[in-house]
């Protein structure tokens, strides 16, 4: 399996390399996690205290922990976005089935990894999660009790130690193995996007620093806690108090199984979401159901006069009726959207083509902006240093995030300047027309039917992508190589 590795010379839409960003977050998590291992103690009575020690006493421990926490959330988010992008663009076809299947497995393991991570803090919320996970495992017919004894051991002491082992070794090693299988033939490493995602993680950490929660004490009534956002969907089902195995194991299992077999049931010959209405509608339905249940899992009746049970329990009939009602709604919405988009495209064809607008910065101004950005960076560095000195940890984390973002901008500017230097702008009309007609020709020469080139439609509507694909010859040819490979 030959792999093509690209560092794009122009801005590329990050949708195509969300998977790469997920991987970058995995690396960030590996590094910060390795450092956290130096201080964390996976022992019954010390786990929570050691996390508190990291958070409050160890210099930069707060930073490490926050980056680790927010990067884990970002990784789950990126993995989900990556999956849906691949789903709607039909990229799991053309012998990419193995990538899709390994991708789903990686996604499931990523959520398990994040889950074991927040459990080993052993706060009240972690205890809730552990107790639910253990009872769900136990509820599996026949194998359940043995599986629980094998994976969880007996008691909290075993749980923490085992979840720690899973979190830092077993799951990551399996993830790395699956990632080696998952590597695509075409990979984009976009430095500004990588810096931007790292910066975004740090900014989120600065603005919403993760709290410690309360140390779990089995003699103290816990407050109302909900799991992390990627599990509240499942939590909503569990809160319906219906049978544990069905709600907690069978439904998510069915969901994962459906995702796994999607490439084998999708018989459409085309790639675009507009040409695969049923598959698209199933995808939209799943998104609608995930969004609704995720919100529902978070929602707890604020009326404190009611009993806790009344506030927590979701009426199963109501929940399941909503889930069922979402199916025709999503299907209707999808078919309507496809119709509207196709109409709009047909209308757009009749209109004369607009020439796309591009921003070109004169060479002199590139230097000015660059120097200004470096000056800004120096100021931010000093500010971050002072914030650390004054004990304002979250502000320093926020500023470091901004520094990463500014670096992303600087790299983009550098890239822009270099591109301009290599391709001196001579936008006389005859040459541009010539380039365009050449492109048209090369497209028609390719063996793929026009409607299968999903990016081709986009070039007509999107100026940004047009500039990318029209001028960035490198990426264009790579794309074509990818699509032509049979």
């Amino acid at each position: 399996m030959g792999m093509k590795f690209t560092i794009p010379t122009r801005f590329v839409s990050p949708l195509g390399f969300l998977g790469m960003l997920t991987f970058i977050l995995f690396i960030i998590l590996g590094i910060t996690g390795a450092f956290l291992m130096l201080w964390y103690e996976p022992i019954l009575d010390r786990a929570w205290d050691s996390v508190e020690n990291i958070n409050d006493t160890i210099p930069y421990g707060f930073h490490m922990r926050n980056i680790h926490y927010h990067a884990s959330n970002a990784m789950v988010m990126m993995a989900i976005l990556h999956m849906y992008y691949q789903y709607f663009s039909g990229r799991y076809k053309i012998r990419n089935e193995i990538l899709w299947v390994t991708g789903i497995l990686i996604g499931v393991l990523t959520i398990l990894e994040a889950f074991t991570g927040y459990d080993i803090i052993f706060s009240e919320r972690a205890e809730l999660a552990i107790s639910i996970a253990a009872s769900l495992t136990n509820s599996i017919p026949i194998l359940g009790p043995d599986m629980r004894a094998a994976f969880f051991g007996s008691g909290f002491h075993d749980f923490i130690l085992r979840f720690y082992a899973f979190h830092v070794f077993f799951l990551p090693i399996v993830l790395i193995g699956l990632m080696a299988l998952h590597f695509p033939r075409f990979m984009v490493f976009d430095v500004p996007m990588v810096m931007a995602i790292a910066g975004a993680v740090m900014i989120t950490g600065g603005v919403f620093p993760v709290d410690m929660g309360l140390k779990f004490d089995p003699n103290v009534p816990p407050g109302i806690t909900v799991p992390e956002w990627y599990l509240t969907g499942l939590y909503a089902f569990l809160r319906s108090q219906y049978d544990k195995f069905v709600t907690g194991v069978a439904w998510p299992g069915l969901f994962i199984f459906t995702l796994l077999i999607v490439p084998f049931i999708d018989r459409y010959k085309k790639f675009s979401w507009k040409d695969r209405p049923i598959i698209t509608a199933i995808g939209i339905t799943s998104i609608a159901q995930i969004v609704v249940t995720t919100y529902w899992g978070f929602y707890i009746d604020p009326d404190r006069t009611k009993s806790l049970l009344e506030r927590l329990v979701i009426d199963p009939i109501f929940l399941y009726s909503v889930m069922i009602a979402l199916v025709p709604l999503s299907f209707g919405f999808t078919y309507l959207m496809i119709k509207l988009v196709k109409n709009a495209e047909a209308n757009a064809k009749k209109q004369p083509k607009k020439s796309e607008a591009t921003i070109t910065l004169p060479e002199k101004w590139i230097y000015y902006v660059f120097v200004a950005l470096i000056g800004f960076q120096i100021y931010l560095n000093i500010a971050a240093y002072y914030a650390v000195l004054n004990g304002m940890k979250n502000i320093s984390l926020f500023i470091i995030g901004i520094i990463m973002l500014v670096f992303a901008g600087m790299y983009h500017l550098y890239r822009h300047g270099r591109f301009n230097a290599n391709n001196p702008p001579a936008p006389t009309i005859p040459i541009r027309e010539k380039i365009k007609s050449d492109e048209q020709k090369s497209l028609e020469d390719s063996s793929i039917p026009k409607d299968q080139l999903s990016y081709e439609n986009q070039t007509k509507s999107k100026g940004l992508l047009n500039t990318l694909l029209g001028k960035g010859k490198k990426s264009r040819t790579s794309f074509e190589k990818m699509w032509n490979r049979e």
């Binding site: 022992i43 019954l44 009575d45 205890e127 809730l128 107790s131 253990a134 009872s135 136990n138 009790p145 043995d146 629980r148 004894a149 094998a150 994976f151 051991g153 007996s154 008691g155 909290f156 002491h157 075993d158 089995p218 003699n219 103290v220 009534p221 816990p222 108090q241 049978d243 544990k244 806790l308 049970l309």
Partner: protein
Amino acid sequence: MSGQPASSRGDKVSRRDFLKLLAAAGAVVTFTPFIDWGKFLPNPAGSANEKGKVELPDGSQANVKTFKVNHSEAIIYPKSDDPVLNEEAFRTWQFIRLPSELGGDKNEASAFRVYSMVCLHLWCLWKYWPGEGRKRGECPCHGSLYDPLTGKAFAGPASLQSPPSNVLPRLDLEVDKDGNVWILPPNWSVNGNGVVGFGRFIT
């Protein structure tokens, strides 16, 4: 020889297939002993083969002659030498002598109950309340109530859970001729003594 087809020799199994069969059998035989190694994963600490003492918090062994009727104590089972492990919620049990109306006056094992203190709902530690009108196990967290006679939750969130998650795990007791109370070796399954934090089927 080597180019000769197997059928011409009249054999039903070719040499190659026979070798494959031997290789497969060899592989199976080689790895068979490792099947039992799956026992590496579950924690053996809880599976005692001998009777254990009911050790009260003051260090003495519970005795039918001295233990008060309608009274309870938290005991640790199985007890280890490690104080951290002894704090483990999963090792805390409620040792109850039933009130007299439920047969607590008899000086025999049937007057006693030992239930896991881990509430079946969300694993808080419940406790027996002997006061008049209560005489039941109560969980401080979400108010699950347990019947001391059977260990079954009769109110609160734990009572809404489907079996086996509505009945507390229970240890079997034995009283010797001196009146000392012993815990019999448990069978940690939902059909036996139950699974701590999960439940037990009432047999």
